[in-house]
């Protein structure tokens, strides 16, 4: 089982204010918040952790049938390079994050070996979102002007 999440950075800068009082407290653990504040680019780190949590949550939710809004329970640990892990409810998810000037995209898997086998298709679109059902992706994420499909 695999999951993904994409954040359009331009959209995120308009739609959300990560510096809003209480924002970080509702989403992140103490360790994550410390890392966000101490880093060179807090904005990027916020959305990197967010995509890690969301990508892992999509697998978790499908596995367990649980739907909730509990981002602080999805604990992110950065690993080497763009890899990381997300722990929740005794489960560990492995993540790989791709950061560009325009978007952040994270893929997640239950086994670290699966990450390399994931095929990623990111479509930049304007206006109507392209139809993708016939492509039969394993997971989909869209935000702003980007559609991310993984297989």
């Amino acid at each position: 089982m695999i999951g993904n999440d994409l954040v359009d950075l331009h959209c995120a800068s308009i739609e959300s204010n990560w510096e809003r009082k209480g924002f970080l407290d509702k989403l992140f653990t103490a360790t994550e918040k410390a890392h966000i504040h101490s880093g060179a680019d807090p904005f990027l780190q916020v959305w990197k952790y967010w995509t890690m949590k969301e990508a892992a949550y999509k697998i978790y939710s499908r596995m367990t049938g649980i739907r909730n809004f509990a981002p602080p329970k999805l604990c992110c640990t950065p690993g080497e390079h763009h890899y990381g892990t997300v722990l929740t409810d005794g489960l560990k998810f492995y993540t790989c994050t791709d950061t560009t000037d325009n978007y952040i995209h994270t893929t997640a898997a239950l086994h670290s070996g699966q990450l390399a086998d994931i095929r990623i298709e990111i479509i930049h679109y304007l206006g109507e979102m392209p139809a993708y059902a016939s492509k039969n992706p394993a997971c989909v994420s869209h935000h702003g002007q980007y559609l991310a499909l993984i297989y």
Binding site: V7, A12, E15, S16, R20, K21, G22, F23, K26, L27, W50, E54, R67, N68, F69, A70, P71, P72, K73, H143
Partner: protein
């Protein structure tokens, strides 16, 4: 149980709060107890935190993480708000 008038009032206040984040305006117009913030209103999951913070401000309550977990629908949010208000 909230009486009908209070319930409608609460739904209307929630409607005002979620309205800037709801991408499906038709679903927003016909908002009701069973309306789901993500599936029906198409609120971006990253904006759910803004809904929670706005609810805290509007009702002057503190929503702990356990309560926040449930707040994916109008009904669940009404129950959380009602419970937190009664604790005051």
């Amino acid at each position: 149980m909230l009486n009908l008038m209070l319930k409608e009032d609460l739904i209307n206040r929630l409607k005002t709060i979620v309205s800037p984040y709801a991408q499906n305006k038709e679903a927003l117009d016909s908002i009701h107890e069973e309306t789901d913030f993500i599936n029906d209103l198409k609120i971006n999951s990253a904006n759910l935190v803004d809904v929670i913070l706005d609810v805290e401000e509007a009702f002057d309550i503190v929503i702990d993480n356990d309560a926040m977990e449930k707040m994916l629908t109008v009904k669940a949010s009404m129950e959380v708000i009602e419970a937190k208000l009664s604790e005051k």
